[in-house]
Amino acid sequence: MAAIAMPKPSQETLRKRSKIVADLQKIVRGEGVICDEIEMRPYETDALTAYRQLPLVVVLPETVDQVSRVLKYCYDNDVKVVPRGAGTSLSGGALPLEDGVLLSMMKFNRILEIDLENRAVVTQPGVTNLGITTAVQQDGFYYAPDPSSQIACSIGGNIAENSGGVHSLKYGLTTNNLLGLEIVLITGEVIRLGGKHLDSEAYDLLALLTGSEGLLAIVTEVTVRVLQKPETARAALIGFPSSEEAGKCVAEIIGAGIIPGGMELMDKLAIDAAEDFVHAGYPLDVDALMIVELDGPEAEVDDLLKRVSAIAEKNGSSYLHVSQSEEERNTFWAGRKAAFPAVGRISPDYLCMDGTIPRAALPQVLQEMQELSEKHGLRVANVFHAGDGNLHPLILYDANIPGELAAAEAFGADILRLCVKVGGVLTGEHGVGIEKRDLMPEMYSEDDLKQQQRVKCAFDEKQLLNPGKMFPVLHRCAELGFMHVHQGQLPFPDIPRF
């Protein structure tokens, strides 16, 4: 297990544990501080379950003032802090540290204001993603980003990971749907950014905080934009004899100027597993299956479905079926949404990867992934958000066979290297966390990574917030501040002047 090394625990913090617990109990009274080993167990891992670690202590604050005082205490005493929302991170973003306070934000579970005239919802960070939609849906509104864990994942966690979902091609990621934040810095300072107005002022700190994986600040309040639900949504199931034809069809749909609400692809292994599990009515004689969903006014949806069908036919589709009812549309999606657990049924364990590639590289990547599968001796099922090139290869392995987890991780790393090679990125929506931390240099040069760490240093100079995540090497901020300059050197004599 645990091939990924975490920062060495501070012996001093471990020694002072009982004092730290007692001090924190003075800030958060009653059941808000958990230090019993059995009660801390549920917090030892997130959705990257291969890694586990009991925290120093778990704190569940209920007010912004408590968050501020807990953080200031940790800052003053050099104690590390690991923030946690619902614990659904697939990249180990909420993995505790032995010498770190685990700060759970799940008691911040109230929606504070629903302002439909301004199409905004103000909420505490522990409210679930789906909870926001539930709160506004009787008026026909919804919150657009829909990660597949939306029943469980918190909006605060969505900010930390810049979560997407199947509809992000048309409706954007968390960062595109966020209007304002209240955050608390590690020093305990409370800062408000944005609000119900558009475009926050001065530096775009909302952008830097969204996707910052709990390394910059603790979010205590969120303002998001909600949208009116499209009147109609219909989905088409389109089967292809090969992934290559499916890939070309995806590119051609987008190239024709059609932006579907969702566009997903599954390969043979994933189709068979999902159909066997959910009985969604998927065709079993195809090698690639596409689900295209179009939404909007009915007349528009009908028109676009005709165009999509024509493009599919031109690209050699062998199966096409359009949903005839809302129930049938939901069934199409049920298969796709259950693809991960469905694959879980055909293999004792699986590793879910998350790279993004330019759409045009899809056939090449699928081909090379098959070659890698043979090289590593492990099967791979592919499920992906084809519209925005976000791949989720599921590597099948058995943790009980010695060496298979390591082989699966090596295979996963090779897939991500392949994504970077074709012009893509290491992670599309699951985050770097600990999982992809050591692969960061595959995509970024040392200078690139230094700039990332400089953002960290502006927010958290002592690097107490979620250390060990995202960055492969932790430079001290003072070390990063050093500048290599050649005093008095003249600029290039041949640079044009004006």
């Binding site: 300072e189 609000g195 558009l198 009116q228 051609e252 006014p297 990125v425 927010f459």
Partner: protein
């Protein structure tokens, strides 16, 4: 006497910044200089002009991504996209008419450095929402990249979006990857005549809260410009395929039937109307102070009502009321009362877009920041530009 550097490659630009950092000598960083009359003036002996670093690096229309050098002219970018029936969805403005500079002079880098978005920002998102990646040189003279060429990417901090609207004070961008979208097949504008600003505000709010998919919503008071000579006009823009527009128009007519005075502006006339509002043509040919107010949409008309009690103003509302442009009569300065009114009406911010050199030197051009936030902004600046050589003071003193 200072020098004007005009590099043509990222490496040349890096050399200039490295030299300036070593010499501790500030640089005024500009694209082509078309927005020099906006913001605070930079006190520097040297100017670094980026529009020599120009050209398309990569454009695959089917990928909906354009990678372009930062100094490429906005017009060139728009022309190229139009050839492939695509566009920048956030429709950046050409501010030449209000800033008194030659038309179509801006660069794509300048657009992103100021996060400049037009009327469609309401539905399509801001300039920053479309940025996928960048390459830049920090104030330390380090070349770096952030983000990538794909839409879904959470690999590290989002520096590419985060550096939009930093006005060249953290780093000088040399290239950007931008998400582009297909142009709509058709557009038209549904018009309501004679509404009070309060009625207009609720009409826009209802339209935005419906499934009519309105992409821009503006209100011009009576007498503001030739279009509103006779009556105030409220404009709701619909874009898409014809059959969809027809359906959504019917929807708007029915939702807003209590306002019987309705009209339609179609096709090219609709495009021109929104183009003129985007470029602030009704405010052209004057040198009176022009403020950009960003507030919660329903607060727009309240802010205007409060302002009208105290000042002589000319104004228009865009972004369904969330963006208010206000031209002030008289000397001012008006910044303090103006911002107080915003605070009293749900908050937001005010930026002086047009003002004399003296005015821009004497008021806070950008919204003053709370002390804790200013502290954070200064630490960010110190990390990326420790010697304060990139556009010092362009946004705030000390940044």
């Amino acid at each position: 006497m200072g020098e004007g550097f005009h590099p043509t490659t990222a490496e040349e630009l890096e050399a200039v910044v490295k030299w300036a950092a070593a010499e501790r000598t500030p640089l005024e960083v500009i694209g082509s200089g078309s927005k020099r009359n906006w913001g605070r003036a930079v006190q520097s002996a040297h100017t670094l002009r980026v529009d020599g670093i120009a050209g398309v690096i990569d454009y695959e229309p089917a990928e909906l991504v354009l990678t372009v050098k930062a100094g490429t002219s906005l017009t060139d970018v728009q022309t190229l996209l139009k050839e492939h029936n695509q566009e920048l969805p956030f429709e950046p403005a050409d501010l030449s008419a209000v800033l008194g500079v030659p038309v179509q002079a801006g660069t794509i880098g300048g657009v992103l450095a100021t996060n400049l978005s037009g009327p469609r920002r309401l539905k399509a998102g801001a300039a920053r929402d479309h940025v996928l990646g960048l390459e830049a040189v920090s104030g330390r003279g380090e070349i770096f990249k952030a983000g990538g060429r794909v839409v879904k990417n959470v690999t590290g901090y989002d520096l590419s979006r985060g550096f939009c609207s930093s006005w060249g004070t953290l780093a000088v961008a040399t290239s950007f990857s931008i998400k582009v979208l297909p142009r709509a097949a058709k557009e038209c504008t549904f018009v309501l005549l004679g509404l009070t600003s309060q009625e207009a505000s609720s009409a826009m709010s209802e339209a935005m809260g419906s499934s009519a998919e309105v992409s821009s919503a503006a209100h011009l008071p009576k007498g503001f410009c030739p279009l509103s000579q006779e009556h105030s006009i409220t404009l709701l823009r619909l874009e898409g395929i014809p059959v969809s527009i027809e359906y959504r128009l019917d929807k708007l007519r029915s939702i807003l039937k209590r306002f019987p005075s309705q009209e339609l502006i179609e096709g090219q006339a609709s495009r021109k109307t929104w183009g003129d509002l985007r470029d602030l043509i009704p405010f052209a040919g004057s040198d009176k102070p022009l403020w950009k107010l960003s507030v919660s949409p329903t607060a727009g008309q309240q802010v205007i009502a409060e302002l009208e009690k105290r000042f002589a103003i000319r104004w228009m509302m865009d972004w369904a009321g969330g963006l208010v442009w206000v031209e002030m009569e008289g000397e001012g300065p008006h910044d303090v009362p103006l911002r107080r009114i915003i605070t009293e009406n749900g908050g937001g911010h005010a930026t002086l877009l047009r003002g004399s050199v003296e005015l821009r030197a004497s008021v806070d051009v950008f919204q003053p920041q709370a002390e804790t936030l200013m502290g954070l902004s200064k630490r960010l600046k110190a990390q990326f530009d420790p010697h304060g050589i990139l556009n010092p003071g362009r946004m705030y003193a000390g940044i």
